[in-house]
């Protein structure tokens, strides 16, 4: 191996500081990548080429940990009493609404459930956001509610049986320069949502632009400054249930709890989410009531607000100082793997907690990094906690004494941590032990890992902790018998790569043409197939969650981990894995998508439209 003539990486800081920032950056990147390349080449067996011949981006500037504090408790978005103009079933294009399809079943469902609770969200740019005191302020995008005290990210508390109507304004600057595109299409992942409110990728809008699938018949040709999203908050299988019982809002076994919303604009999901377009939507019902002192029979009394705390983790990369700005390379087919983890928008923050039980709702908001989180002491001793929900859905029984949470992009895990077992003053860390070198897949698990969040147990709770983790949480809906499953239609979806593009069944996303047409109310077995190794695809299917029936790798059946045996909406297809998933398509019709939630794969066409056809279609 000949290292002569190569630049010494340490020479980089000697570059003239007054040169253009971009040039400095390029110099740094060039010198930074030489050494690792040569190192890895010395040992031919260990040579790893995953990041070459792509550019190796320079590391983010160093940040001193634990300087930023997360709010002790979150403050949700408040609902509003009225919307002006008032919401309408058909889009109010004259009043500034984008050209969506009319709300499905609006009169019927609000007739049964009552007037929706109104929310007003604005998607805004904040050019002065502080992500960490060692970095300059950042130009980020965010969802904002009407109450200025709401915490980051914007969080909505909603309740089953009480519909929500969320008006989402697009106030992004139209002349925005750089990565990300200032149109929005907001997907509430994975609410059981009518298609026109689902944030279909082609339904993006701004006051001057309309996506290709919006209705362009209005005077503004589909463009609009806002769009109303109708979230009925009914259980999947509403129609079935009411046909059986004549009443109710569906089967509570289908309840979802930890949902999140994010931008889904076609071709720009990765960059728009990376700019910050992420929020939480927490759904409660008569058992997961959000009240730990609830004395009603059946109430689970899980740790509740303010001890119910959502945490969104996302990977980010920042350009070298003095620029220090959020960095993304939208000319890079593999996207950018972040080397800084933001937790609710802050790098290496501290969360002060009371010595009591907390429900922590962990979300991997992407874009590309996977995590395996451990809770450790200052001496890296692994701590135990209780795993209660995966992908936002409570498991039938809690998984006690767990030590890790693995999350692919878009996966969620709710855990209960009992901080009462620690003396006041104890410091604990959430660490990520999953190493990853490329956006394609995680590499391996290695201790002690990277500390991403610090907990300080700094006081006793002002009131007694009445919460509990009962031995039974939420039962699962009965599965059909194996004979019944055998009779269901099968659909095979192969996830592959061809000509440098990510494909599903050899094809690329077509926003206008469904690759499957499915009768509303039907059930199918979907076979998700990783066709070639080398990457992991977290597959997300809109409209309803599914149940993993089996998993196999190269034809050999592998066990489904306990936490994946509930209802899931993200199916992590690792390399050459095949998964059989029971899917249902109930209550609503229209266009939906299935896609890889590694959003750079999604934006590189690994997405498929499927249409649910109603009785009249």
């Amino acid at each position: 191996m000949n290292n002569n003539g190569k630049k010494n990486p340490s020479a980089a800081p000697n570059d003239p500081p007054d040169g253009p920032a971009r040039r400095t950056f390029l110099k740094l990147s060039a010198t930074a990548l030489t050494a690792p390349l040569l190192l890895s080449a010395r040992n031919s067996d260990a040579a790893e080429w995953v990041t070459t011949p792509q550019p190796v981006f320079p590391p983010s500037p160093p940040t001193r940990p634990w300087l930023e504090e997360l709010p002790r408790q979150i403050v949700p978005i408040e609902s509003v009493s009225t919307l002006d103009p008032p919401p309408s079933v058909s889009p109010n294009t004259a009043g500034g609404e984008a050209g969506r399809a009319p709300h499905q079943r609006y009169a019927e469902l609000t007739g049964v459930l009552g007037t929706p609770e109104f929310y007003e969200l604005s998607v805004v740019e904040n050019a002065e956001y502080l992500v960490h005191p060692d970095l300059p302020t950042q130009r980020v995008w965010a969802y904002r509610g009407t109450n200025p005290d709401a915490t980051v990210p914007a969080t909505i508390f909603a309740h089953y049986g009480s519909p929500t109507l969320c008006r989402i304004y697009n106030k992004l600057p139209e002349n925005h320069v750089g990565f990300g595109s200032p149109e929005i299409s907001t997907h509430l992942h994975n609410l059981h949502t009518p298609s026109e409110s689902d944030g279909y990728p082609g339904d993006f809008y701004s006051k001057s632009m309309a996506g290709p699938t919006l209705d362009t018949s209005g005077t503004k040709q589909g463009a609009g400054e806002f769009k109303d999203h109708f979230y009925p908050n009914i259980y999947a299988g509403y129609d079935e249930w009411r046909a059986l019982y004549g009443d109710g809002i569906g089967d509570p076994k289908e309840a979802q709890g930890t949902l999140w919303y994010h931008d889904h604009t076609e071709d720009f999901t990765a960059t728009n989410v990376y700019r910050g377009l992420v929020g939480f939507y927490l759904l409660f019902d008569h058992i997961d009531t959000g009240k730990e002192d609830d004395d009603k029979p059946g109430a689970l009394r899980l740790p509740s607000h303010p001890y119910d705390y959502p945490l969104a983790f996302g990977d980010r990369r920042f350009a070298p100082l003095p620029d220090g700005q959020l960095f993304y390379d939208d000319l890079h087919v593999e996207g950018v793997l972040g080397d800084k983890i933001v937790v609710n928008g802050k790098i290496e923050p501290v969360l002060r907690v009371d010595a009591r039980k907390y429900r922590l709702r962990l979300l991997n908001s992407g874009p590309s990094r996977f995590y395996e989180f451990y809770l450790v002491t200052a001496k890296d001793k692994v701590q135990r906690f209780t795993y209660i929900a995966n992908d936002g859905n409570l498991l039938p029984q809690p998984l006690f004494n767990q030590s890790k949470v693995r999350l692919a992009v878009a996966e969620r895990a709710d855990i209960v941590v009992d901080f009462s077992q620690y003396p006041i003053g104890t410091e604990l860390y959430l660490v990520n032990r999953l190493r990853q070198d490329s956006t394609r897949k995680p590499k391996d698990v290695k201790a002690p890992g990277t500390r991403v969040l610090k907990f300080i147990v700094d006081r006793n709770p002002p009131e007694q902790d009445l919460s509990q983790v009962p031995n039974q949480l939420r039962p699962l809906p009965d599965l059909p018998t194996p004979e019944e499953i055998d009779k269901l239609p099968k659909r095979r979806w192969e996830f592959d790569r061809k000509n440098g593009l990510w494909t599903i069944n050899g094809r690329l996303f077509d926003t206008h043409n469904p690759r499957a047409k499915i009768k509303q109310g039907s059930a199918e077995v979907w076979e998700l197939v990783g066709k070639s190794g080398g990457w992991s695809h977290p597959i997300h299917i809109h409209l309803e969650e599914g149940r993993i029936l089996s998993k196999s790798v190269d034809g050999i059946e592998v066990p489904v981990p306990l936490h994946e045996r509930g209802r899931k909406d993200v199916f992590v297809l690792e390399q050459t894995m095949t998964m059989r998933v029971l899917m249902r398509f109930r209550d609503f019709h229209g266009k939906y998508v299935m896609h890889c939630h590694n959003v750079i794969h999604e934006d590189h066409a690994m997405m498929v439209r499927f249409d649910i056809e109603g009785e009249d279609d």
Partner: protein
């Protein structure tokens, strides 16, 4: 100073034969490219199928909306289909092609694809004005290919021209925003991406 070139030089010293990286051989040659001040898109010297010498950034990209793919004349795989498909996109663009939206096809085999050959190829595919087929020095084209993300992180895949990129790189230089569309996607799907990026059809 350039990211990709530095990298290619580093790779070259590993031994081309050992890695079987035919495509990288040319890249070891020093090229004299300069990056434009604020862009990392190289200002590569190129020749159009009409025989005109151009600079990639200054003449073809600066301030423009562009759609760029890679092809070569002898390609027996997706190139002809992709070119025919992009021809339909050009027709959908109508008068905007060459005025608001510029289409470029870069050859993957610059040593074989002379301007004359590319001209014949363009004529064969009845390409209208406003769409340029481009060739140049091998090392320069390689650098440009990496700069635009027409590459695969796996060097064996990357060097295999039979699996070469099917991506259409779509960008708007004025807004410094880039995305892609599959060159084989439905023409109206490609058009939708171009329209989104071009921002010229705003209401």
């Amino acid at each position: 100073m350039n990211t990709r070139r530095e990298l290619l030089l580093g790779m070259g010293s590993l031994g081309v034969a050992a890695l079987g990286l035919q495509a990288w051989r040319g890249a070891q040659a020093q090229s004299q490219l300069a990056l434009s001040t604020n862009q990392r898109i190289p200002n590569t010297p190129l020749v159009t199928h009409e025989g005109k010498e151009v600079r990639f950034y200054d003449d073809l990209v600066r301030g423009k909306v562009v759609a760029i793919n890679m092809m070569y004349v002898a390609c027996a795989d997706i190139c002809s289909t992709a070119t025919a498909n992009l021809r339909r996109v050009q027709q959908l663009l109508g008068a905007r092609a060459g005025r608001d939206v510029f289409m470029y096809s870069l050859t993957l085999q610059p040593e074989l694809d002379t301007p004359e050959l590319l001209k014949a190829y363009a004529e064969l595919h009845r390409v209208d004005p406003g769409w340029l087929f481009l060739t140049g020095a091998s090392a320069d084209i390689e650098e440009l290919r990496y700069s635009l993300g027409f590459s695969d992180p796996d060097p064996l895949v990357d060097s295999d021209q039979t699996t070469h990129t099917g991506m259409l790189r779509v960008g708007n230089d004025a807004f410094q925003r880039w995305t892609m569309a599959p060159a084989l996607a439905e023409p109206r799907q490609i058009l939708a991406t171009i329209n989104h990026v071009s921002r010229t059809l705003t209401f």
